[in-house]
């Protein structure tokens, strides 16, 4: 009975809330969401100039925290130019030059979601430049790994580049969107791993719990990566429900969906633990 007294609480460590409605914020708050972290990403179309990114960074650091606050949810951001728009290296460098100014914002936690999309040479160069930027400014790093057939190769290229930098502490990097064929390698090299819960193109709540049970629940977080596409902002509490159905303890569930993200995010002093 004592276990059931622990009420559900969780962190959404990766949600693209600029694409979601206020109904989503309300549903997440009611489900026990205590904080949301929003990495910069692709809008579904290519922005034509750095000005578009300047406005987006203002939205992430100024407007969206106010929208989330109406539902009593603290909102944090990660900044970068995403890999899908990194092919134009001139634009990418122009955008990256603006980032240090925004890193001073009180809710910016680090550089992300950087990474690769189609594993091109230009994407890799811009990824390496972002890693340098993060190291220079002592920032946490959130990494996007490529989709589907490009994931395994891209994950390896990303880990090779992080290692080659020489100054990156793996414990300050989360490599997101891992699946069954990449998760162990990410954890073995000392990084944190993010499991993304998507209705089709990533892991289901059931598969995520399988991975937790068979690979590791340590240095792992779950996220919905909810955005403008087919995605579910309540997928993290749904995975928690799946764990409960399988008989996991309330403490184990709380550790995974609340404690783990708090542990990683608290490496940035700007992140205020919801327990505080």
């Amino acid at each position: 009975m004592a276990e059931n007294k622990i009420s559900m609480r969780y962190i959404e460590p990766h949600g693209h809330m600029v694409s979601r409605t206020t109904d989503d914020y309300q549903a997440m708050a009611l489900a026990g969401c205590k904080a949301i972290c929003e990495p910069a990403f692709w809008a579904g179309f290519d922005r034509k100039s750095a000005d578009g990114f300047y406005d987006y960074f203002c939205q992430l650091t100024q407007h969206e925290p106010k929208r989330a606050a109406k539902y009593c949810i603290p909102h944090y951001a990660w900044l970068c130019i995403n890999p899908k728009e990194s092919e134009d290296m001139g634009l990418a460098k122009e955008v990256m030059a603006m980032i240090p100014e925004f890193l001073k914002a009180p809710t910016v936690l680090g550089i992300g979601e950087i990474g690769l999309n189609k594993n091109t040479r230009n994407e890799l160069k811009i990824f390496e430049a972002h890693v340098d930027l993060a190291v220079q400014h002592n920032q946490l790093i959130l990494v996007h790994t490529p989709h589907l057939e490009d994931k395994r190769k891209g994950t390896q290229l990303i880990m090779d580049a992080l290692k080659a930098n020489g100054k990156v502490q793996p414990s300050r990097v989360i490599i997101d969107h891992v699946e069954e064929h990449t998760m162990a390698a990410v954890l073995d090299q000392g990084y944190w791993a993010g499991i993304t819960l998507y209705p089709e193109s990533k892991a289901s709540p059931q598969r995520a719990v399988d991975m937790i049970e068979t690979i590791s629940a340590q240095r792992v977080w779950l996220n919905s990566a909810c955005d403008w596409g087919h995605s579910d902002p309540l997928s993290v509490p749904k995975a928690a429900l799946e764990m409960r159905r399988r008989g996991h303890s309330s403490a184990a569930i709380d550790r995974l969906v609340f404690g783990n993200p708090v542990e990683f995010l608290s490496q940035c002093p700007k992140f205020i633990s919801p327990e505080a």
Partner: protein, 77 residues
């Protein structure tokens, strides 16, 4: 029941493919190549299938054909 429903959906999809006319598609090749793995006595079926569908090369490419991935490496046999 959930697995039953998904298996029947897959069977129905393969039936529709039989009825359809079209050119060879690498995604269908990948799907068919993965089916025998389901019957292997192994607890790593998901990883095996994901690896089967993955790009096996190791060097970055010059430029992608599109921004999107298709789900199966296009050169799969």
């Amino acid at each position: 029941m959930e697995a039953r429903a998904r298996l029947l959906d897959l069977a129905a999809f393969l039936d529709r493919l039989e009825r359809a006319r079209g050119v060879d598609d690498h995604r269908v090749r990948g799907l068919r190549a993965a089916l025998p793995l389901l019957l292997e006595k192994d607890a790593a079926r998901v990883a095996k299938i994901l690896n089967l569908w993955s790009d096996p090369t190791t060097e970055p490419i010059e430029k992608g054909d599109s921004k999107a991935a298709s789900g199966v490496w296009p050169k799969i046999k």
